[in-house]
């Protein structure tokens, strides 16, 4: 037998047939297919037992359940944040930010994983130990204190009422610095209006029981107070076959709330307060008001001062106001009559669409309207909350000797973070050496983010205490990792507008960053290092201990932490207690009057002081609920437009950043293709400016500019431009960074007349076609 080509071929063919007769080929093919279905880089989450833990999101003050999986190998991890059916402000509902909180918690690419020190000159970042980091901060502060410059430090935090805010304020105060400021909120504005008119700082709206709601520019459905609770109230107004409740929205844009309202009154932006007063006047003229208002202090004229009634009759003619606000008179009358007739009607105010704290006199005007309706203390009306039974952390601390950077000259002190930043930049009365950014991401959230950015750039030593590598961390010299709210101890107090008070405690449930410490713990450790007065002012080892002390009167602390929250059991119905000098409702606020006179020194200087505070109309109306023309109306010259923010629960208003899932659900009317910001304009306005839908435009204010795609929207008021707020992060990883631009960089901030709260709802801007 020869071994030639033919025999070889035969053998080879046989071998091939033989291999095919074996399972080799089909098995290889089968396995390759299976391989394509199970690529090794696709995650394989490990299963395990499921448990739910109660906690409260400090972002919304709303109870949530963390769904935690306990796996045999991977251990405990949270896989969902759901609503808490047993929490009165949640009832199972949740907002997008809370539902996607885990995306920020677990993303190690955006979390600060260890203390870091940045070299300003080289930009180099060095990881340091906790002890080194605390030495750095304590060393800096003690040096300031020793050289008598303690006041040249400024600390910013998101919330004055939470435990971290309390600790920070005590730390700064005992160190000798009067400069602690917080994110301005409508809670403060409401407290001012409430105290001045009723002697009650804690007021809320009983939305769930109201059947006729008039909202003065309040973005009820875009996030307001406790957003879930507001939605549940809204759902109660909707029914089958007829709606049991009526919602009237007064605002310049066909927003979500306006679109879902039964009646939308598109008013000129900023005229809301005047409309509330015009409604009072109509009720007065028609005789359809609650007669008990006649006995209110300041309803009739008093010695030397005109009363509320005279002022209404003089300044708030229905025709004049309707014309000024651009609303058909018939509609205004119809709404007023329906409001007056409704069984349980309420008027709602604040916050501004841009998340600003709202104008104080507008709040007073709306309170007056509610008083005219006679709904104070009634179901579906304005209620007083039970004050939270929280204890002070420790005894009072003597006030620092130096005056604060800003606000010291006002009759009452409010927290104006923007004025402080501007004063520090101008070095008037003095500059600052150290800036502590304790959460809140002020360099992004502002108000007026670019002022904060400049301040951070010009301050010699900047500390950021933050869970994230955010915009504030990016400009800080020392970055300290604090815990996410699912990781550490903290608390939150009653959200704005809630009819009942509530207190939330969040505790460590999972651990995502082992090095992170509670912001409170960091401050307490610094206080320990500083020693002396400072350590005495903060006699706690941990935030947990401080929380336990704070909530002593709420029962067992462990039980409270486990339950996550304390909520006022029953809403307070019945005639409210007026803690005013007259013991009555005060339309003419004696408290405000006395404060102003005291500050002015004499009645003669009063007018000058009021003029200095920007109160138009002077002492004649300054102590009555009245309407002040918004400052932004003043600079509408040439082809300037009014810029207002478009709030949305899909973007958040501050606090934590927008999450990746929220970016995913942004409609293309907010974020267009290739991550471009979208601004809205009425077709008529666009035509007048020779702009078309889809054009790339430049929105410019005195403070900054935004490049955006123009969306021509029939529901936008003419003469205005509407900008989504909460976009345009430079930090937070590829899923969030570089999406749109930051509204807060273009918003102009002014001080509210009288209250001095920062206001940035309206800004004069020019809009033109962008080059390129």
């Amino acid at each position: 037998m020869d071994w030639d080509r033919r025999t070889f071929v035969k053998f080879a063919v046989g071998a091939v047939i033989g291999v095919h007769a074996s399972p080799l080929i089909p098995k290889l093919m089968d396995d390759s297919t299976i391989w394509t279905q199970n690529w090794s880089w696709v995650p394989n989450p490990e299963g395990g037992g499921v448990a739910y833990a109660r906690t409260v999101s400090p972002q919304t003050g709303t109870g949530v359940l963390a769904k935690i999986v306990n796996s045999r190998v991977a251990g405990e991890r949270a896989i969902r944040v759901e609503g808490d059916p047993d929490h009165p402000l949640s009832q199972g509902g949740v907002v997008p930010a809370d539902a996607s909180a885990l995306q920020l918690l677990y993303n190690e690419e955006i979390r600060v994983t260890s203390p870091m020190l940045r070299n300003r000159k080289t930009g180099e970042v060095m990881r340091i130990t906790w002890s080194e980091a605390l030495d750095q901060l304590a060393g800096n502060l003690s040096e300031l204190a020793k050289s008598g410059k303690a006041h040249q430090s400024l600390a910013l935090a998101p919330d004055p009422s939470d435990v971290t805010g309390r600790i920070l304020s005590r730390l700064m105060h005992s160190l000798g610095s009067p400069n602690t400021a917080y994110t301005p909120t409508p809670r403060e504005t409401m407290a001012l209006a409430g105290v001045f008119m009723m002697g009650q700082p804690f007021l809320g709206f009983d939305l769930a029981n109201a059947n006729y709601v008039v909202s003065f520019g309040t973005p009820l459905l875009e996030g307001f107070g406790a957003p879930v609770a507001v939605r549940q109230a809204y759902a109660k107004w909707r029914g089958y076959p007829k709606n049991p409740g009526t919602l009237v929205q007064i605002e310049p844009r066909a927003s979500v709330t306006a679109g879902q309202a039964d009646e939308w009154l598109p008013c000129k932006a900023g005229s809301e307060g005047a409309l509330a007063l015009a409604m009072c006047r109509i009720m007065l003229e028609e005789g359809i008001y609650d007669k008990s208002i006649e006995s209110a202090y300041g309803f009739d004229d008093m010695k030397g001062f005109a009363g509320f009634k005279s002022m209404l009759m003089k300044d708030y003619d229905r025709n004049k106001i309707a014309k000024m606000a651009g609303i058909p008179l018939a509609k205004l009358i119809k709404i007023t009559l329906a409001f007056a007739k409704a069984e349980r009607a309420v008027a709602v105010c604040g916050p501004g669409n841009s998340g600003d704290p709202g104008r104080m006199y507008d709040f007073m005007a709306v309170l007056a309207l509610n008083a005219f309706k006679g709904n104070l203390g009634k179901p579906g009306g304005v209620l007083t909350q039970q004050p939270l039974p929280l204890k002070a952390l420790a005894g009072d601390i003597a006030d620092p000797q130096q005056p604060p950077l800003a606000g010291g000259e006002r009759p009452f002190n409010v927290n104006n973070v923007n004025a402080m930043a501007k004063a520090a930049l101008a070095k008037k009365p003095y500059g600052i050496k150290t800036l502590i950014l304790c959460g809140g991401n002020f360099v992004f959230n502002g108000p007026q983010a670019n002022v904060m950015h400049e301040l951070a750039r010009k301050t010699p030593f900047v500390v950021a205490i933050t869970p994230y590598l955010d915009e504030s961390a990016a400009v800080a010299d020392l970055v300290l990792p604090s815990t996410h709210w699912l990781e550490g101890w903290g608390d939150s107090t009653t959200p704005y507008g809630s009819p009942v008070s509530s207190y939330g405690v969040h505790r460590p449930l999972v651990k995502a960053v082992p090095q992170a410490r509670d912001a409170g713990d960091i401050l307490l450790a610094v206080a320990q290092r500083l020693g002396g007065k400072v350590a005495e002012a903060l006699p706690f080892k941990s935030t947990e201990e401080a929380l336990a002390k704070r909530s002593e009167d709420l029962g067992d602390f462990e039980e409270l932490a486990e339950a996550g929250s304390w909520v006022q059991k029953k809403a307070i119905y019945g005639p409210p207690k007026f803690n005013t000098p007259s013991g009555k409702l005060e339309l003419f606020s004696m408290i405000l009057h006395d404060l102003c006179v005291k500050q002015a020194g004499s009645a003669d200087v009063l007018e000058n002081m009021l003029a200095y505070l920007g109160v138009e109309g002077g002492a004649k109306t300054a102590f009555l609920p009245h309407w002040q023309k918004p400052a932004a109306w003043g600079d509408l010259k040439g082809n300037k437009l009014l810029m207002q923010a478009v709030p949305s629960l899909r973007t958040t208003w501050g606090g934590d950043a927008i999450t990746p899932y929220m970016v995913k659900i942004l409609p293309d009317t907010m974020l267009a293709e290739q991550d471009k910001l979208v601004v809205e304009m009425n077709p008529i306005t666009a035509k007048a400016l020779h702009l078309n839908d889809g054009d790339l435009v430049q929105v410019e204010s005195e403070e900054g500019s935004l490049t955006a795609k123009l969306s021509v929207y029939a529901g936008a008021a003419p003469g205005m431009v509407f900008v989504p707020v909460g976009l345009g992060h430079e930090a937070f990883g590829f899923q969030v960074a570089g999406k749109g631009m930051n509204f807060n960089n273009a918003a102009g901030v002014t001080s509210d007349p009288m209250s001095g709260m920062p206001i940035w709802e309206l800004t004069g801007v020019t809009v033109k076609k962008a080059r390129g």
Partner: protein, 278 residues
């Protein structure tokens, strides 16, 4: 054909209560391990099982009105549908007439219609990525994974073990949170109970802060959805296509109902009334 021992899960969304906050959409993504790509403004490639659409009545200022349409998978049954009085939904007595647009075109049997629950499945590991079903779905409820999901470091820790993460090259869609039914059934096997209305609720239903979404068994008189689908304001999207979907909407606003293309059912209602009803 529907038998008494089978159930039909369906959903009713009250458009008048929906405030467009997107909580349902986010809860859905978190529940079902949906990923986030670099550019999510590219809506062809962006995956949102439950997308919230915004519509307006097209009128100029100041008469503009807006409404929101959350759109999950409709879990179409196909075949002859009922009349408005019956809540539209009825199982066609002819099994061959049943026609779920996506199921009928899938060459790989990666999606099927479950006779026991009425839920349309999607098995990503079986999918060959031809996207025929994406084209067939009249509601744009199906999404194709053009890329592998870039999970940032640490984020896979938040993934749910009850839903398998997908790879690139496959189609995915809303499953009515089927894994929740699997978990609920697990419990019933152990203690011999039945899956009650509240034992199986979808993530979006639970999350909705205004309670606009209701979920349950369409054919069970004890369930809330059964009553809701019979109200005058109930309608379905693109009724005229005959997809016989199991997601219902309700709205008191006529323009909303008209935009959802409910014309056919009204014509049907008239016809039914003329012929003395079914």
């Amino acid at each position: 054909m529907w038998r008494k021992d089978q159930v039909r899960y369906g959903m009713v969304i009250d458009v008048d209560k929906c405030t467009g906050c997107g909580a349902c959409s986010v809860a859905c993504m978190s529940e079902n391990n949906v990923g986030v790509l670099h550019d999510e403004t590219d809506k062809i490639k962006s995956i949102t099982w439950l997308r919230v659409y915004q519509i307006d009545n097209g009128k100029p200022f100041p008469d503009t009105e807006v409404a929101f349409f959350p759109r999950p998978c409709m879990h179409c049954q196909g075949g002859e549908s009922g009349t408005p009085g019956q809540g539209f939904f009825q199982e066609d007595t002819d099994p061959d007439a049943a026609h779920t647009p996506c199921v009928s075109v899938c060459p790989a049997t990666a999606t099927d219609y479950d006779d026991a629950t009425g839920i349309v499945s999607q098995i990503p590991t079986r999918c060959i990525g031809c996207r025929y079903c994406v084209a067939a779905c009249p509601y744009h409820a199906r999404y194709f994974n053009w890329y592998d999901v870039p999970w940032p470091k640490g984020t896979p820790r938040a993934l749910s073990p009850f839903v398998s993460p997908r790879m690139r090259g496959v189609v995915e869609k809303c499953t009515f949170c089927y894994p929740r039914l699997q978990q609920a059934k697990n419990k019933t096997f152990l203690d011999g109970s039945e899956v009650g209305e509240m034992d199986y609720q979808t993530a979006c239903t639970e999350a909705c802060p205004s309670g606009a979404i209701t979920f349950g068994q369409l054919q069970d008189p004890g369930h809330k959805v059964h009553k809701l689908i019979k109200t005058d304001h109930a309608f379905r999207m693109l009724e005229k296509l005959g997809t016989n979907p199991k997601v219902y909407y309700t709205s008191k606003r006529k323009w909303v109902r008209m935009l959802a293309d409910n014309h056919l059912s009204q014509a049907k209602a008239a016809k039914a009334a003329a012929s003395g009803g079914h």
